[in-house]
Symmetry: C2
Subunit: 287 residues, 2 copies
């Protein structure tokens, strides 16, 4: 299902502001027993003072360039979700004791916005990404988040940063909704504070060589996913343990890792891509 | 082995400055092929403008209060480690695409400084914490770090924040060295940028009820550590997957979780504490 990104409506323009970190706009909720829900219709906009030049597409590497703006909203256990804001892309400031640094309670999604020949921007089945985002937040006991509202915000940012969507085939504007745990304190408990932000990154093929064959090193001594773990969720901490095995694979001349699990070496994942098997049968009938 | 915290020597005083985030002092290294090592002897000090009042010890909860200062040093792949700095405790500002948010590549240590009847501050076998910190960094492919230098910095901060060490039995100044992955970018690769910071938190008993018996819920459907995983290292991402099971245990009236693994339900860890078994034999001879 390709979903069209609808044009923006009723957006409050907040005028120019520098890109330093500012306290989030609190929601309108004044009822302490009724924390505010995330509400895309309240989206505010703070424009960047200057816009960056678009990068030539042949220099685009995955996830290295970012558009001029991002969307940010914060969750407080008493007041709930703040008013979401489109603001200049820039650093976020957090207490060093925050849960995201200490206990890694972060989740994310990745999805691409494409520009069609008809000039419309499209996302591919983003509702499924949003359902997974909701499940990931629940798995790490983050504050609940409404994926439909996050999707509405993603679409707003796609439309707002429309000039950043590359027109060339194989290129796209990669959208990265991220939820990080911002409870300040070292107690090993669930984070009741969180920050949602959405980044937009113009991007080309993930592999520098493009859609060529990649070589995989089968790895079983390090395990990417295991029963009772978090491999079925898109949580930050799933990824960094793969960095060292990936370094070793690269040094041996392989592009990526084929992750195995268990004594019968079941395939759990293949590096940064999906994994399909095509079987050619003796009678010539592919299955 | 109790290690005495030695008095400070040759510390450069930098004068007062507000607690906003400032770019780190670069190291003296001007040789691009020779990144600077972390060097405790170059420690600089920026004093907080005002000092916080000490908190009454009966109000101390684990990891909620922090001293006036922290130590920060940053690693850049070209210039190496910056000059470490004692600076006012305050927020750190990072690119939202940083590896620590996206892929959870953070590690930490926890150790307590006690004030002895002789007035000396002591750490308990901190060298073993530092060896584990080195192993944790290596496991997540973070830039290598010299644990002996980190320990020297921990000792400097203990001495600098000496007034924060509670004198009462059972209380201590909890030291939290943390290394976070700060490479900005969404590529799923090892972070060649990092930030080391050390926090000091006056603390009492971990459990509000003190050294009373705690109840444990044995959990096997969620798995805390597994062969080929990171359970043997102190990495941030080990902890947040335990938040949801801990919530469920709390709701059932248990204090903590006894983590089991495998069909024979081996014990891998017990919540936020060590786990020992005392066996009383039929012949009355404890083992």
């Amino acid at each position: 299902m390709l979903l069209e990104v609808s044009p923006m409506a009723q957006i409050v323009i907040m005028g120019n502001k520098s890109s330093t970190v500012s306290p989030p706009q609190m929601s309108d909720s004044t009822d302490p027993g009724n924390p505010a829900l995330l509400d895309a219709s309240k989206l505010r906009i703070t424009h960047a003072e200057t816009l960056k030049p678009l990068q030539p597409i042949e220099t685009l590497r995955f996830g290295q360039a970012f558009s001029d703006h991002m969307i940010v909203a914060t969750h407080d256990p008493v007041t709930g979700w703040s008013v979401p804001e489109i603001k200049p892309y820039g650093p976020i400031a957090l207490d060093p004791a925050s849960s995201c640094f200490q206990y890694g309670g972060n989740v994310f999604e990745g999805m691409k916005a494409y520009l069609g020949p008809d000039g419309k921007a499209r996302l591919f089945r983003p509702d499924l990404n949003m359902r997974r985002l909701e499940r990931s937040c629940a798995r790490l006991a983050l504050p609940p988040i409404d994926g439909d509202v996050v999707l509405e915000l993603v679409k707003r940012l796609v439309e707002f940063e429309r000039r950043w969507i590359p027109k060339e085939s194989g290129y796209s504007l990669y959208m990265r909704p991220t939820v990080i745990a911002t409870r300040p304190g070292l107690g090993v408990i669930a984070s009741d504070h969180a920050m949602l932000y959405i980044l937009a990154s113009p991007t080309g093929p993930y592999f520098p060589q493009g859609l060529q064959a990649v070589s995989l090193l089968a790895v079983s001594e390090n395990v990417r996913a295991w029963p009772g773990g978090t491999g079925g969720h898109k949580v930050a901490g799933n990824y960094s343990p793969g960095f060292l095995p990936q370094k070793a694979a690269t040094q041996q001349g392989y592009d990526q890792i084929l992750w195995l699990f268990g004594e019968d070496r079941r395939i759990t994942e293949a590096g940064a891509m999906n994994f399909f098997v095509v079987v050619k049968r003796d009678d010539g009938d592919g299955a």
